[in-house]
Subunit: 330 residues, 2 copies
DNA sequence: CTGAAAGCGCTTACAG
DNA sequence: CTGAAAGCGCTTACAG
């Protein structure tokens, strides 16, 4: 590979001058700069990042540990958000996927330490509590889409409660009066927050809570998710008679569309449907297309990166809002 | 940060001895090895990868360039496949997402060269032709899920034709006789191959091609994908009267399920449904669940990495088979 | 089995 | 504005 010395010889200057040009040091005679630039071009020189890192004693690398417990399409936006910031600020993002079988979290952290990362983003694929090794306290660390019980790390998570309030508020504002919320498992933090938000929306508007039915229809049993969404929808329609249904996630909404079609009910006309996630193609593919609360994964990725970039050390718990995407189902 | 010299002082040996222990050089007295290991543990020493790379003149890094034209959930398996191999062989995988707006391909390649990558995997998110800068010929490069017209690079792609033959063959073997294939845009290589495979399945079994209807129902117009899947399904059911429908992708199959339900037809009983992709949750969420051909993204990621690992230079065009996932719809 | 010297490709710190 | 020297934390090559 061509080095700084090769370029120097080719350009007829000292290798230090080449280093100056490559690092945009302004104190180089324009004439020499030109010469060097031409040689760089001619030889195809590119600085050796490993050597730079060694000498500078700064890696410029931020580690990103992603747990792969679930495979949810939009979660990749967390990585994307961080990566775009990294690119913009000329930093490296070193992404490591961990999962129980293949790599331990410890091994991932060790790996990142070997690369002398200047900060670590630990991101969970769904909003939940995690527990992390103590070694992470040695280095600036942010948690994205998750939190620890110890409370020693800065975190950024979706504002579940606000999301619940917003979507239910939007439904009420559209004139829907009787809302059935088919929620996720209430042991999940998301389900708790959204439930509280839904109730708050009713209370703020002085609506009677008699007109709000909340029920968990996806529950975890023995490590498996069991959905009784279709059955629950049938029952709730018959007994509670909602004029709108709020679904805990878009895939569930898809199932509800099937139920409604089988009952001869038209979404957006006979009954309104709202949901959470903005899950891949599903919202656009349904007819009518699905109004849903998009998770702020991209924004969380950015937030986490910027926290590290700004060299912050405050232990904040930042909550980012969802984005209401209005389509035809409400 | 603690260095090899700190450890040496702490252990009372020469720093070279520490290096030997860290690199598992067997020619170290067990006694000294113990001493060093204890000091490594006590001081929390971890080798500095940048310094190792600099001196070894080997980066151990493989670059992975991912085009993000589309956001298809399972495409992440391409990265996963490569990453797991990298981990296993103690290599680094440096993943760079490119997209038209943010980073140019050139910039990504330049970035990878700065890191002295020992090989590059260029992966496309859907099977298509790409064009790549000449600079990539300077370094071992494999294309995954894509190919160039120049034919200078090794490639690994899904075997579209075999997939078409397998799924249609499976349908025929189950006793379905009249099959409507609602294909993707035929300008897409996947659609071409699958069509040829479907025809071959009929021919191999001596079935009349009168009983195979193939039609493209998702087409690109002005850069936008237009799906007329629902309409086309209605028409084809009325006119061609198939006993099974093969869908070009799982999201389309979902739409067809809605159509069939509205027509009072039961999937798996009145009519069989097959599909391609194994797209995220969709196949499992449909009732009955969807039989589909899973794309070999994970396998392509592994294949590409192994090609580079084995230091191959042959310009092969490897085709990997899909996996038939049998569920309730056939 | 161990160690002192030289060197990887850069940057830092300093002299001119 | 330019350059020679020293050094980053390791590995290589060699001597003992």
């Amino acid at each position: 590979m061509v080095t700084i010395k090769d370029v120097a010889k080719h350009a007829g200057v000292a290798f230090k001058t080449v280093a100056r040009v490559v690092n945009n040091d302004p104190t180089v005679k324009p004439e020499n700069r030109e010469k060097v630039l031409r040689s760089v071009e001619a030889l195809g020189y590119r600085p050796n990042r490993a050597a730079q890192m060694t000498r500078r004693k700064k890696s410029g690398v931020i580690g990103f540990i992603a747990d792969e417990l679930l495979r949810i399409p939009y979660t990749f936006d967390l990585i994307r958000g961080a990566q775009e910031m990294a690119w913009k600020h000329n930093r490296e993002l070193m992404v490591l996927n961990i999962n129980e079988h293949k790599y331990s979290l410890e091994a991932a952290v060790d790996h990142l330490f070997q690369h002398r990362v200047e900060g670590i983003i630990y991101a969970s694929m769904y909003h939940r509590q995690v527990s992390l090794p103590d070694s992470l306290t040695q280095i600036p660390t942010v948690l994205a889409n998750c939190y620890t019980s110890c409370g020693r790390f800065a975190t950024v998570v979706p504002d579940e409660e606000l999301a619940g309030e917003q979507i239910v508020g939007a439904m009420l504002d559209k004139g829907y009066r009787r809302i059935a919320f088919l929620n996720l498992d209430e042991r999940i933090i998301a389900a708790q927050g959204r439930k509280a938000g839904a109730i708050r929306a009713f209370e703020k508007r002085g609506e009677s809570l008699q007109n709000l039915h909340i029920e968990s229809v996806i529950v975890e049993q023995d490590g498996q998710l069991i959905s009784r969404a279709r059955l629950a929808a049938c029952e709730v329609i018959k007994q509670f008679k909602p004029d709108a249904i709020l679904c805990g996630q878009d895939p569930m909404a898809m199932e509800i569309y099937f139920v409604l079609q089988s009952l001869g009910l038209k979404v957006g006309e006979d009954i309104g449907i709202g949901s959470f996630d903005n899950w891949d193609l599903i919202p656009e593919l349904l007819q009518p297309s699905l109004t849903t609360m998009a998770l702020p994964h991209y924004e969380m990725g950015r937030w986490a990166f910027n926290y590290l970039l700004d060299e912050r050390t405050d232990v904040v718990a930042s909550k980012l809002p969802f984005r209401l995407i209005s389509r035809g189902s409400l």
